[in-house]
């Protein structure tokens, strides 16, 4: 079948899943042990006001009706009012998304290519030490908690390097002072659009540590999976056939072998996006990055229930979208998926 048919089919399959997630968030909403209206208005608010909000938010209606109102709101793009900021949740999210996206994109742009390359090198190197070193780094990478890595980086780049006066990299925030105007909200991109190299470099400098902290774990995962995928493929018959044809070794590895090993790497890349989105919460908290991760943390520590659930829905959408892209890429690369072979 054609590619777009495949895409449409996958999109349709997503709908029940997303509905299911709304069910989960709804269940969580109802599982809150305290009165949400009271929590929102505070202990000093008069009971009449609280009752009003009960009616406004349909808190006492029969459950199925509540769910319907909930879904209705969602479909209209209404995620409720932020308990933390008292403005619509969607507003908060939209304001903060660019920061998170920029960070995550840079982290993945670092993790994926480097991870793949090292994975391939590790699988094909005859030198056992290279292989062992790569494997160890890969294992270490997933054992180091993101939050701890971020903190260690901060310590090192401040205290450690201060002794040799190299504490160059900024540690907090996206820029030292807010930019004058933003177009996309991506500071690096905006700097390019404004033809402002100074801001560009500054924004980039601020990105280095958090992006590395976030991407390191993903790099380890990708390295591992690429390596094992390559090892498996390199033992296949068609690799031997390629050599028997006289194909130079470099092409045997990168063209013949790797094209077949990409499926595992691709699947994992989708998963690492989810992992990165989760890790965002930690990284943004540690590096004082004004993204949705930091927002989530605030919500979690202050009991911002709508904020929490709104974030969960949004992140899920991102994650699901990323996996959809992965599936489509899969179909593009693997003819068997597309053409429905054995």
């Amino acid at each position: 079948m054609k590619l777009w048919e495949y895409v449409v089919r996958r999109l349709l399959a997503l709908i029940p899943v997303l509905v299911g997630v709304t069910l989960i968030t709804f269940i969580l909403w109802k599982a809150i042990p305290v009165d949400p209206a009271r929590a929102f208005l505070g202990p000093k608010a008069p009971q009449s006001l609280v009752d009003q909000y009960h009616r406004l938010w349909h808190l006492d209606d029969p459950l199925p009706n509540q769910y319907l109102y909930y879904m209705g709101n969602l479909l209209r793009g209404d995620l409720g009012v932020s308990f933390v900021y008292k403005i619509p949740v969607t507003d908060v999210l939209f304001a903060r998304i660019p920061a998170t996206l920029e960070l995550t994109l840079y982290a993945m742009a670092f993790a994926i290519p480097v991870g793949i390359y090292l994975g391939i090198r590790s699988a094909t190197s005859r030198n056992r030490w290279t292989d062992h070193a790569a494997r160890f780094v890969a294992i270490l990478g997933v054992a180091i908690p993101v939050y701890w890595l971020g903190i260690m980086l901060k310590i090192f780049f401040h205290e450690g390097l201060a002794t040799i006066h190299l504490d160059v990299l900024p540690l907090d925030g996206r820029l030292d002072s807010a930019p004058t105007s933003t177009i996309t909200g991506f500071y690096t991109l905006d700097a390019i659009l404004h033809l402002d190299p100074g801001t560009f470099v500054a924004a980039l400098a601020h990105l280095i540590l958090p992006a590395f902290a976030l991407g390191f774990a993903q790099l380890a995962i990708i390295l591992r999976i690429t390596r094992s995928g390559m090892l498996e493929v390199l033992g296949q018959d068609y690799v031997r056939t390629a050599r028997a044809k006289g194909v130079p070794e470099k092409d045997v590895v990168f063209t013949h072998a790797f094209r077949n090993a990409t499926s595992a790497t691709l699947t994992v890349s989708g998963l690492t996006v989810g992992s990165a989105l989760a890790g965002d919460v930690y990284v943004e908290t540690i590096f004082r990055w004004n993204g949705i991760g930091q927002y989530f943390f605030q919500a979690a520590s202050t009991g911002g229930f709508t904020d929490l659930l709104g974030y969960v829905l949004l992140i899920t959408v991102f994650y699901v979208a990323a996996n959809l892209i992965v599936d489509v890429l899969y179909a593009t690369l693997d003819p068997q998926v597309r053409l429905g072979g054995s």
């Binding site: 005859r126 296949q236 018959d237 068609y238 031997r240 056939t241 390629a242 050599r243 028997a244 044809k245 006289g246 194909v247 130079p248 070794e249 013949h256 094209r259 077949n260 690369l333 693997d334 003819p335 068997q336 053409l339 072979g341 054995s342």
Partner: protein
């Protein structure tokens, strides 16, 4: 061993038969595993001549596949290693004679060192040091072309230049798929699943016949430029439509009725076969330009610039042809994306030739198949595709490692027939590796029987089957359950089995490796390895107690 080998090959009658495409001498391949050293191939000799089919028979573990892989140096090298041996490919007869002379000299020196046979060509080269020096000087100082050629031949002989095991990685790659090709047992897994059949065949051509392809590309560009002069676009018609149009007098695209040949060809096509409306030749969906007349068949985004672009391409390809190491070409090559664009015409040309190769192997609708992926093909077709791929560059030697074992019997017959036809056409040699004696009987001129890493018997098919010398071969013959002929008589006989099991190659038996299972074993068999020696003319056997002529075996 060396003397035995030389006599073997001498007695095989060099001068009167066709030239030897492959000579294997003393090949030893071991696998160093954690359990120990597996001695998979223990000193074997083989000769395969142009136009002949030599079968290599043996059971699993006899070392026949490893032999094949060793010839092309495809043995996985971390555990495996070619410990000793020499593999000569396409050595001209004159050079061979000269080499013998030099090796006689070297052999004397070897004996003085206390050794009995050559381990490798490196050893020979080392022993002939002074002669080689001398010859090099001769080449440099040669006064005429003929003298130079003579000296070069001598030099090649003395340095064992045709020994594959002595060559650099690059030189070996040039041989693979080109002079020597190999097809494998499992067509299911031997083809890369993510590339189309046409692309995989084209790859072989691009690797080894690039110049030919470039010339083809240049011709194609010219053809397309010419076609552009006449008309910008043509359509794809189904053969049926085309037939109707022509028969109604309305020639598609004003094709003159005089081009009847095209029309006749149309009649024999399948009704849904796509043809070019300009010239009526087959033009499937994999072509953007008609492969015959060069008219554009699909929408061309760059249409206004196309002629100019084509002329640029022409210049580029001319450069490539003139100088393979052109800097501009190298530079364009290094950027991945540009490289694909630059080479796209090479691939197109490769695919065009691939379609031809596919029809050579009797695949119907080769155009359609070329655009398909391996998983879309049946087993027999995949094997044909693999044959097409490996034969694309007209190899001198085809090594077929159990090519039909995974196929149905009827398909097997077709494939074997195909191989024989190809052989007749191109005079190529075939080394057929199999465990199926029936196949051997049908197809092979000469046969080598392998057991536990040694060749135990070698001769013509007739000799092996009817005048069996080695007890193992005899055992094999008898183990075949027979259907036809003596059915009634056979029902009363028990199935014959060779007692014992295949030896563990980690710790092979001493002396003759077959002796523990041999009904004719003598005491000497356990201690002395029997050399492969001529017993009757060209029929060789490695046995201390071979089966006597006309007598019944032990």
């Amino acid at each position: 061993m060396a003397s035995a080998t030389s006599s073997t090959h001498a007695s095989a009658g060099d001068s009167t038969e066709s030239p030897a495409v492959l000579r294997v001498e003393g090949l030893r391949t071991y696998f160093h595993t954690y359990e120990g050293v597996v001695k998979a191939v223990e000193g074997i000799d083989l000769v395969v001549r142009a136009g002949e089919t030599v079968g290599l028979v043996g059971e699993t573990g006899s070392g026949k596949s490893v032999t094949a892989l060793s010839i092309l140096r495809l043995v996985p090298t971390p555990p495996g290693k070619i410990e000793a041996g020499r593999v000569f490919v396409n050595e001209p007869p004159e050079v061979h004679e000269l080499r013998r002379e030099y090796e006689a000299i070297a052999f004397e020196r070897l004996r003085k060192r206390g050794k009995e046979s050559f381990t490798s060509s490196a050893e020979v080269k080392e022993l002939l040091g002074p002669e080689i020096e001398d010859l090099r000087m001769q080449v440099v100082n040669a006064t005429s072309e003929t003298k130079k050629a003579q000296a070069n031949r001598r030099l090649a002989a003395a340095t064992s230049a045709y020994d594959v095991l002595m060559k650099s990685e690059e030189e070996v790659r040039e041989i693979r798929g080109n002079a020597v090709a190999m097809i494998f047992q499992e067509p299911m897994t031997a083809l890369n699943p993510v590339f189309t059949v046409g692309t995989q065949i084209a790859e072989t051509l691009i690797l080894h016949k690039k110049d030919d392809l470039i010339r083809g590309v240049l011709q194609t560009i010219d053809r397309q430029l010419q076609a552009r002069g006449k008309r910008r676009r043509a359509r794809r018609l189904s053969a049926q439509e085309a037939r109707e149009q022509v028969s109604h007098g309305r020639s598609p695209e004003n094709l003159p009725r005089s081009e009847r040949a095209g029309f006749d060809a149309l009649q024999s096509m399948r009704p849904d076969q796509e043809v070019c409306s300009a010239c009526l030749a087959p033009a499937g969906s994999i072509w953007a330009w008609c492969p015959s007349c060069g008219t554009r068949l699909e929408f061309d985004l760059l249409s206004p610039l196309r002629s100019r672009l084509m002329r640029l391409e022409r210049r580029l390809y001319e450069r490539m042809l003139a100088n393979p190491a052109d800097e501009l070409v190298d530079f364009l090559d290094s950027v991945r994306i540009v490289r694909r664009l630059v080479r796209s015409r090479l691939w197109d040309e490769g695919v065009r030739l691939a379609v031809e190769r596919l029809s050579d192997v009797k695949i119907s609708e080769p155009e359609r198949i070329a655009g398909q992926y391996p998983f879309e093909l049946s087993g027999g077709m995949r094997q044909r595709a693999m044959i097409a791929m490996m034969m694309a560059c007209s190899p001198n030697l085809l090594i077929a490692d159990e090519p039909t074992t995974a196929l149905d019997v009827t398909v097997e017959a077709q494939i074997l027939k195909l191989m024989k036809e190809l052989q007749t056409r191109t005079n190529m040699a075939i080394l057929l590796i199999t465990h199926d004696l029936g196949v051997v009987a049908e197809v092979c001129d000469r046969v080598g029987v392998m057991y536990a890493g040694n060749v135990v018997e070698f001769g013509t098919a007739d000799e092996i089957f009817h005048r069996t010398l080695h007890p193992y071969t005899d055992g094999l013959m008898r183990s075949i359950p027979r259907f036809l002929g003596q059915v009634a008589a056979d029902r009363k006989r028990e199935l014959y089995i060779i007692r014992g099991t295949v030896p563990n190659l980690l710790h092979p038996p001493s002396g003759c490796r077959f002796h523990p299972r041999c009904p004719r074993a003598l005491d000497i068999c356990a201690t002395v390895v029997p050399p492969l020696e001529p017993m009757e003319g060209g029929h060789l056997a490695a046995c201390h107690n071979p089966i006597p002529r006309g007598g019944t075996p032990g």
